[in-house]
């Protein structure tokens, strides 16, 4: 299959700066695939994206779009062939939603009726009821709705290529997740060639048919499918970038109620000392968790506490690390690290003991997640366009 976009030794040096902002980037992007450019701040991913529609003019190198060298053509006309979505959306505040979406069709001189029909079609496509939203102004919309309008506006003239610069970056996590899913569903229909910039490896793995990881040296470190990047990182940089931070971030996606909680020996705080000691011997733990009559955690007591001559209701360690059922595993891990016993106690809405989260719980959850990601990636790779599965140059 011929490449939709080819970048040929694309390089950018900003005037007065010694270091290159983008160093010799070569890429072939196939029709209908989503290529995600990802990397740390200042790695050149955004500059690369903006050189494709020449918002930033390259210092050297060529840009080939649909087989045509567009490095020196009229940039305004070039941009009307390429959809463009940015993080801040950049809707025109003094124009209605319909007028915003119609920007490029108007530039291309479409007729009025054709524009109206297209605007309604697009608004429906991004799940905004045209009757309600057509005549509104951007300030009357939520952040998520504005970003949908931004996507609709970029698709207005049905360009084969869309550039998206952190399109979901300024949106709250829950809405972002929903927009990502909607967008992936939409992409199955529209089959655009999409170049997508993000700094979030999770988003890259989720959105990308292929991922290009940029390094601190402003070059591409690896350009391959998400599966290949996760299983065969090309170098230490890629391994670092996908590894540590990503696993920790994934803990944010798991709720405590969704994992198998650990068990811990408990006793009513009025328990007889001998019985408590016997219970501790039986389970081979250093601490016993005392709960009140409503099973609310009260104190941790050790064998030594129980053996003290002045044993009373106040001996032992107060319970601090408690998390509710809807906390994330990341919250639980945080609490666990501050706990003197090394576990986070999970309590229900009434404050009653439900179980514990310890390091094993977290590890099990991480392993499950990793397996799930691999599976999803494998499925995505299966659906990716032919050729996209082959490893790109690194």
């Amino acid at each position: 299959m011929d490449a939709m976009i080819r970048l040929d030794a694309l390089t950018k040096r900003y005037p007065g700066q010694e270091e290159l902002a983008v160093d010799n980037v070569d890429m072939e992007i196939l029709p209908g695939e989503i290529v995600v450019l990802v990397g740390p701040s200042g790695c050149g991913k955004t500059t690369t994206l903006k050189m494709i529609n020449r918002i930033i003019e390259p210092t050297s190198g060529r840009i080939i779009l649909e087989g045509e060298d567009v490095t020196d053509v009229n940039p305004d006309r070039l941009r009307r062939r390429i959809g463009y979505v940015i993080q801040q959306v950049g809707l025109f505040p003094h124009q209605t939603i319909a007028s915003n979406v119609a920007t490029v069709p108007k530039l291309l001189g479409w007729g009025k009726e054709r524009i109206t029909a297209r605007v309604d079609e697009l608004l429906e496509m991004v799940s905004l009821e045209p009757r309600i939203y057509r005549d509104r102004y951007p300030k009357e919309l939520s952040g998520g709705q504005r970003q949908r309008v931004g996507v609709a506006r970029a698709m207005a003239a049905d360009p084969p290529v869309m550039l998206m610069d952190e399109p979901f970056g300024a949106i709250d996590p829950i809405t972002r997740d929903r927009l990502q899913n909607e967008f992936l569903r939409l992409q199955e229909e529209i089959q655009k060639t999409i170049v997508f910039v993000t700094h979030d490896i999770d988003e890259a793995i989720k959105m990308g048919d292929r991922i290009a990881i940029f390094g601190d040296n402003h070059r591409i470190q690896q350009f391959a499918t998400p599966e290949a990047i996760l299983s065969q990182p090309a170098n230490e940089f890629v391994d670092d970038f996908t590894g540590t931070g990503a696993s920790l971030k994934r803990l944010n996606l798991v709720r405590v109620r969704d994992v198998d909680l650990g068990e811990w020996p408990t006793a009513i705080s009025s328990v007889r000392r001998e019985d408590a000691l016997a219970q501790l011997d039986e389970v081979d733990q250093a601490f016993l968790l005392l709960v009140d009559s409503n099973r609310r955690p009260v104190r941790w007591v050790s064998r030594r506490d129980l053996s003290r001559a002045d044993w009373n209701q106040h001996v032992g360690l107060p319970v601090r690390a408690q998390v509710p059922l809807n906390a994330t595993l990341s919250d639980a891990l945080d609490e666990m690290l501050t706990s003197s016993v090394g576990v986070a106690i999970v309590v229900d809405d009434g404050g009653a003991y439900r179980g514990i989260v310890d390091i094993d719980t977290v590890m099990t959850a991480v392993n499950t997640l990793r397996a799930e990601t691999r599976e999803r990636v494998a499925v995505a790779a299966w659906h990716a366009p032919a050729g996209a599965v082959e490893e790109g140059g690194a």
Binding site: N53, E129, Q145
Partner: protein
């Protein structure tokens, strides 16, 4: 989600938005805001009329305080003020736009400096110099006061265009709008409220300063005030002052309404 989330207030605003003039009088609080100034002016004029009816005027005072004379001066005052505002807009807005273009940005400090000087020089001095240079009359007064009023409009045009969010411009350029299209369809409309605020300031400056035109033969209500001062006549002085203040308040009132009506929707 989207449908139930619709803000009924916004929907109502939209349903009834054909005329923003109507919105100015739609509820009592707004109507009071809108018509407070004309009401105050009316009361002031009535009080002035009452006062003049109770004082014995000398023949000299009577020569000043007659209807044709007062109307002539008030008309001169308004006409010159509006003329000056028109010149200010015609000069400062295009200049301001030019100075925000990349190729002219470096010239900004020079022009802002000149405009600053125009405002910093005492206007009475400027008018006198111009009267000497080009002769007494309205022309010199208009030129002098125009120079004096350029700064607020120039500065607000600069600020109005510069404050437009970069992301909005980038989105426009990124979709293939030319620089001109971005200027006329995005930057200018979004700058309108701030430019209008500058024009309003300039207009107020012009109405106040043009009273000095009386000293260089340009007429205006300044003539009444001046003869009140020269002739030690309180009735004449008070009449001149009240009329000048009334004209100033009314012109500002009209400018305020224009500001509300001309502001682009959606901002």
């Amino acid at each position: 989600m989207a449908v139930t989330g619709a803000d009924p207030r916004l929907a109502a605003e939209q349903a009834g938005s054909p005329s923003r003039l109507r919105a100015l009088v739609s509820d009592p609080a707004k109507a009071w805001n809108t018509f407070a100034i004309p009401l105050i002016v009316l009361i002031a004029l009535a009080a002035l009329y009452q006062y003049l009816g109770g004082v014995e005027l000398t023949s000299r005072e009577a020569a000043r305080l007659n209807q044709p004379e007062l109307i002539l001066r008030a008309r001169q005052h308004v006409v010159l003020s509006v003329q000056i505002a028109a010149w200010v807009i015609a000069i400062a807005v295009p200049l301001g736009i030019m100075l925000t273009r990349p190729w002219a940005k470096r010239l900004t400090p020079i022009f802002v400096g000149i405009a600053n000087a125009g405002q910093a020089i005492p206007s009475i001095g400027l008018l006198t110099i111009l009267a000497i240079a080009i002769g007494v009359g309205q022309r010199g007064a208009v030129i002098g006061v125009t120079a004096y009023c350029i700064l607020p409009v120039l500065r607000n045009t600069l600020v109005g265009i510069q404050q437009v969010d970069d992301s909005i411009i980038e989105a426009g350029r990124g979709m293939g709008m030319t620089r001109q299209a971005v200027l006329w369809r995005i930057e200018m409309p979004l700058a309108v409220p701030i430019v209008l605020a500058g024009v309003r300031t300039a207009l107020i400056l012009a109405v106040g300063t043009i009273t000095l035109g009386a000293l260089v033969g340009a007429g205006t209500l300044g003539v009444i005030i001046n003869s009140g001062v020269v002739g030690f006549s309180n009735p004449v002085l008070i009449t001149g002052a009240v009329l000048t203040a009334s004209v100033a308040l009314l012109i500002d009132w009209v400018a305020g309404i224009a500001e509300t009506v001309l502001r682009p929707k959606g901002l």
